[in-house]
Symmetry: C2
Subunit: 334 residues, 2 copies
């Protein structure tokens, strides 16, 4: 352990800043058990922020990237952006009677996500087109803001923002306090996350990288608008993540956190950098407090990346073993 | 004038921080004459940073975007990135004997840019493809770094970085000190600017928005690389600029600076924001110290945007009238 975090722990103890009893973690990462994952994080942050360490990284290079779905908030029973699209389809259905007879909308309106998804990429594109395009950027922003305030998770009945992971919020804050620039790098739409990410995660719009659809600039009655087009511009998923990181950030991260095979390339890219790096893989193994799924899951499948984590020494974060609480409003939260 | 800048000026005078004689400008914007343009900048910065002003903008919203070619450095006799491509064509020509017979390369190798450009978009695409693709992102980065160190302007014989505009560097610093996040938003390639923009402009890679080419992530002998593909991904020019700003920054700027019709949409988009805004248009009217061109120019044509500036009250910055010195190493520089 380098000197800085050691002193911080001593200082926290002296100031009474919450070294709980029974092996619980002190201060800033309070929802993390004092296990291997937490120790790897603290050790890494200490090493790259200690000017006396050979692994010291000056502040502008402290780039940390986080997947969104399944890494910063839950993703069951489906990516929440798909549930947003479903809510949009329901709201629009009155004006689109033909949807009752047309797939994938007919299945969606019956609440049958599995059948809707059978149409594959084309079905997804049709859903995205119908629900995410044809609006201006400002109109879409307002829709997302209204939805995130009012919508409820279909089985838990809670606002989606309540399903953010408390330990990950603590990690974002911990890194931010140590001079890291934290980014979301999501397979989901950047414009779906940006309207509320600053309040929810402390991550401003310019640090949200995600998938994007076509945009056209036009002037309507003297007023410039950006019109959302029914076409995919960029899919920030899998091998798209290092591409998105290069295009939007232009630097290689030194810390990456994901939870699925869709994050493997991002973790590989981070680990292959010339300096120190830390790769985290959040494992959904907590059926009691969240969900348990990995190799066979349709949403957030974690298979190849789990093997790679083991052979490359990446840090697997077990929800069950490493986290004292899971969601931001869990009763067990400190 | 709001209170903050007034106090700053008094303080600067008390500290002897360089109120030169003869109406010259004090302190931070020393290369700007005390004319309407400088006053508009100081007045605007004062207004949006004064918590007591109705136009106060909290720090994260102080987004300032700058075109690159012709706004932060010169662009004659051609965009410098085209001259970089020309140098690349010359360096690669020994291995490509067929270029002596094939347009646009044959014209380029004879130094005849005008004939090379006759092929229009297709010619440009061929030049970009041949000189900017087929490399990894890291290889291209190294090429650009070597070029910017060694290359010389064809008529002036000076390093290209010497052709940055001193008053604009002062403006970037002035805004940065006042809590603005300054961005480059260029029609040129982001990957051409990023390798040296932090040192040259104080603008880090993540604040450079530009045109991009296709990228493919692949793992070569266990080592992940990003391969530059012979295809255009995005043209960050004209109506592409507000699109690039939305995709990469996700906020609307409150200050925009450009110099040509290619910046018109960016200035319109900035001016149409809900709060205060400042739009600057650098005018190349100084044949003695730089170049003089506007409505008829092939490079950096300033025609419609000049009319708009006049009818909308945007601030036109005359190189001749507003700048005490032009380039960073001009003898007349303070």
């Amino acid at each position: 352990m380098s000197r800085l975090p050691f002193l911080a722990v001593v200082l926290a103890a002296l100031l009474g800043a919450g070294c709980a009893s029974g092996g619980a973690a002190p201060g800033p990462l309070a929802s993390w058990h004092d296990g291997a994952a937490r120790r790897a994080i603290v050790e890494f942050a200490g090493r790259v922020t200690d000017p006396a360490s050979p692994d010291f990284v000056p502040e502008p290079g402290r780039i940390a990237v986080f997947d969104h779905d399944g890494t910063l908030w839950s993703e069951s029973p489906a990516y929440f952006q798909l549930l947003f699209a479903l809510d949009r389809v329901r709201a629009m259905a009155a004006d689109r009677p033909e949807w009752r007879e047309t797939e994938p909308f007919a299945s969606l309106l019956r609440g049958d996500l599995a059948s809707a998804a059978k149409g594959g990429e084309r079905a997804v594109l049709e859903i995205v087109t119908a629900t995410h395009a044809g609006l201006t950027a400002e109109e879409f922003d307002a829709l997302v803001r209204a939805w995130i305030e009012a919508a409820r998770h279909p089985t838990l009945g809670r606002p989606y923002r309540d399903l953010r992971y408390r330990p990950m919020l603590e990690l974002l804050a911990y890194l931010g306090e140590r001079g890291f620039a934290t980014y979301i790098v999501s397979g989901g739409g950047a414009d779906f996350i940006r309207p509320w990410a600053e309040e929810a995660y402390g991550i401003p719009p310019e640090r949200v990288v995600g998938s994007t659809i076509g945009l056209r600039y036009e002037v309507r009655d003297g007023m410039p608008v950006l019109v959302r087009l029914p076409e995919i511009d960029f899919i920030d998923e899998g091998p798209g993540k290092p591409v998105g990181i290069h295009r939007r950030i232009g630097r290689r991260p030194i810390l990456a956190a994901g939870n699925s095979d869709g994050d493997l390339a991002m973790l590989e890219w981070t680990a292959a950098g010339p300096g120190p790096s830390l790769c985290l893989l959040v494992r959904h193994d907590d059926a009691a407090r969240e969900w348990a799924y990995d190799r066979a899951s349709k949403v957030g499948r974690l298979d190849r990346a789990l093997d790679e984590a083991s052979s490359r020494g990446w840090t697997v974060v077990s929800m069950r073993e490493d986290w004292r609480s899971v969601h931001v409003r869990d009763a067990a939260a400190p």
